[in-house]
């Protein structure tokens, strides 16, 4: 039989063991969070180098002559895919609060700069080499339902048409002047807003069918 003394002891042991288990979970979670952050930072750095490498290569060919379009289409696709992946991770981790705000702002800034650089590169390659891919700038607001839904539509579009490159920007991010310049350039006032191939501006949520129609027309 369990008497009152045993009962108290049992309860204290249960509480103690539970606290140990929860603390272990917390510590393991923090460890995993650190791994996530390191992985993300590494990915951003890698892609920064890749973009830089493209730009330098392009500049070299500009100065010394040669076929600029030798920068192959698949490499652009690869870079675009990586950038999209980083964007998705940044958004996911932002909602789980694994970053300190300053750390997160810094990573976001780096990411948006990387995107802006990639955007310029994609645009010039498309123009100079007549590549028929579609580049879409996607301006979103965090925790905005329509922005989240527009994200699904863009994910589906990339899956259906791999020659689409999506570069997403937090419309309200104010830590970087370059992003401010992009916002002013396209007169972005609400989210979601899409800029397709620098020419078409779509405000408000747009469904997949309409978006596909637009991108198809754009490439003809």
């Amino acid at each position: 039989m369990v008497n009152k003394v045993n009962y108290k002891r049992f309860l204290i042991i249960s509480l103690g063991v539970s606290i140990i288990i929860f603390t272990s979970g917390l510590l393991l979670g923090i460890g995993l969070d650190n791994t996530k952050v390191n992985e993300l930072v590494y990915n951003i750095d890698q892609n920064e180098i890749s973009t830089e490498s493209y730009s330098v290569e392009k500049e070299f060919l500009n100065v010394f002559g040669g076929d600029k379009c030798i920068l192959s289409d698949p490499r652009v696709k690869e870079l675009s895919g990586e950038i999209e992946k980083i964007g998705r991770l940044l958004n996911k981790y932002e909602s789980t609060n694994i970053f300190e705000q300053s750390e997160f702002d810094y990573l976001k800034r780096k990411y948006f700069l990387l995107e802006t650089k990639a955007y310029s590169l994609f645009y010039s390659l498309k123009k100079e080499c007549s590549y028929n891919y579609t580049t879409i700038l996607f301006f979103y607001d965090i925790n905005d339902d329509n922005s989240i839904r527009q994200g699904y539509v863009l994910d589906a579009l990339v899956n259906l048409n791999p020659r689409t490159h999506i570069l997403s920007f937090d419309r309200l991010f104010e830590e970087d002047p370059t992003l401010e310049t992009v916002r002013i350039h396209y007169n972005i006032t609400k989210a979601p807003t899409l800029i397709i191939n620098d020419r078409i501006k779509m405000e408000n949520l747009i469904n997949l069918e309409d978006l596909m129609k637009l991108t198809n027309e754009e490439n003809y």
């Binding site: 039989m1 249960s14 539970s18 929860f22 979970g25 393991l28 923090i30 469904n207």
Partner: protein, 406 residues
């Protein structure tokens, strides 16, 4: 907010699981072979049980207990079938008639109680069968003067369909929990399959509450509030029939859960009251916290499901025929691992393994095997949702004070 609530419920579940595991490792209280066979009156309340009554009486007649120390009383509770005629065919079986409108087990038991001549009386449901040593094994527990009632270990014989297989699991787990509760002396139910009471004590306490739809819970709580124990005899095996379809199961559970709420309110005086030992300071608060946690989880899960459904509809509208293309982006194993929220998942994993351990122990304690059939999966996935719904409906009906019925 959602995460905090999940954390709290997961912490609570973990603490309680570890508590019961410790109780599990304490010594069992054994039944003492006293060599005495006090007279026991066996009450069998029956309402339209013509299909089952014979088997029940036969199993009682086969009891390994001196025949002159057993009195069998069948209480025909205004049946409209041949229950009484069948019972009357048995020698040494007294049939009494309880005339009233509609079934009500407590009233039948009180009618039977008036005819009881034994120092003890047992209640055996008319759809139950009892093993021959079950009564003998129970009686040893009455050596302790503070024991007011002793219950048996209930099993389901040959479950046929998925509903019965789910209930088989449920009975294994609930009997296991009753054994643990008995160890810390907080057991507070005397199910009708086979429970034995002290006759004089129950008469002194006023018999069964006729306005109660779960008289087995009420009488046990009344024993408790009067500082009497309820014990379980693990070696007393009994078999019961259980609902075989959704409607029957639903009605039974609503009645049980309404009875739970009603009786916990009726005996609210016991809450956190040291006078009633661990039943007051531990078991009843635990019952109530568990009840509110079930309600909370129900709303959390419902909210999550509705939100996901709403989003799914939106996706379907936006993506039309290409809806499933967004689900084709399978993550790599590395991404999958990195996506895990260990802070939340880790305690869940531990709790899951503890539950599996307790499930295994529960089966072993009943000499049953874990059956790896679809019911096991349903029991741990769909059935908890159904149970939550039982609680919500029972709670709603109690708040609305709708008529309690059998």
């Amino acid at each position: 907010m959602k995460e905090i609530l999940l954390w709290i419920s997961s912490f609570f579940t973990l603490v309680i699981s570890i508590f019961w595991i410790q109780v599990l490792f304490t010594k069992n209280e054994k039944s003492k072979e006293t060599g005495k066979f006090p007279k026991v009156s066996i009450l069998i309340p029956a309402y339209n049980e013509e299909k089952n009554i014979s088997k029940t009486i036969e199993s009682v007649l086969k009891l390994n207990y001196p025949k002159n120390k057993i009195e069998i009383i069948v209480i025909d509770d205004s049946s409209t079938d041949k229950t009484a005629q069948i019972a009357e065919k048995f020698k040494n079986v007294k049939v009494i008639y309880n005339k009233h409108n509609g079934p009500g087990k407590a009233s039948a038991l009180n009618a039977g109680l008036k005819h009881v001549s034994g120092d003890f009386f047992a209640v055996v449901d008319a759809d139950s069968e009892i093993e021959k040593d079950s009564l003998k094994n129970i009686m040893g527990y009455f050596d302790d003067k503070k024991t007011g009632a002793v219950i048996s270990s209930i099993k389901i014989k040959n479950p046929k369909n998925v509903y019965q297989h789910i209930q088989r699991l449920e009975y294994i787990l609930s009997t296991f929990m009753r054994k643990l509760m008995s160890k810390i002396d907080t057991l507070h139910i005397t199910p009708g399959v086979l429970s034995v009471y002290k006759s004089a004590l129950i008469k002194k306490l006023g018999g069964f509450d006729e306005n109660n739809i779960t008289e087995d819970l009420e009488i046990a709580l009344r024993l408790r509030i009067n500082n009497y124990s309820v014990k379980i005899s693990p070696d007393s095996i009994t078999y019961t029939k259980v609902p075989s379809n959704f409607k029957e199961l639903w009605n039974q559970r609503i009645r049980w859960f309404r009875g739970f709420i009603y009786n916990h309110l009726k005996y609210k005086k016991m809450f956190m009251n040291r006078k009633y030992g661990l039943t007051g300071i531990f078991q009843m608060p635990l019952n109530v916290i568990t009840f509110f946690m079930v309600i909370l989880l129900f709303f959390l899960i419902s909210y999550e499901l509705l939100a996901r459904m709403y989003e799914f509809i939106f996706k379907a509208i936006l993506l039309k025929n290409n809806l499933f293309i967004i689900y084709l982006d399978f993550p790599t194993i590395k991404e999958l691992v990195l996506n895990i929220d260990l802070k939340l998942i880790f305690p869940f994993i531990i709790t899951f393994f503890l539950s599996v351990y307790l499930l295994n122990k529960a089966h072993k304690s009943m000499n049953e095997k874990i059956l790896f059939n679809p019911s096991l999966l349903i029991y741990f996935t769909v059935y908890p949702i159904l149970r939550m719904m039982h609680w919500i409906v029972a709670f709603y009906k109690e708040i609305r004070n709708t008529k309690r019925k059998w």
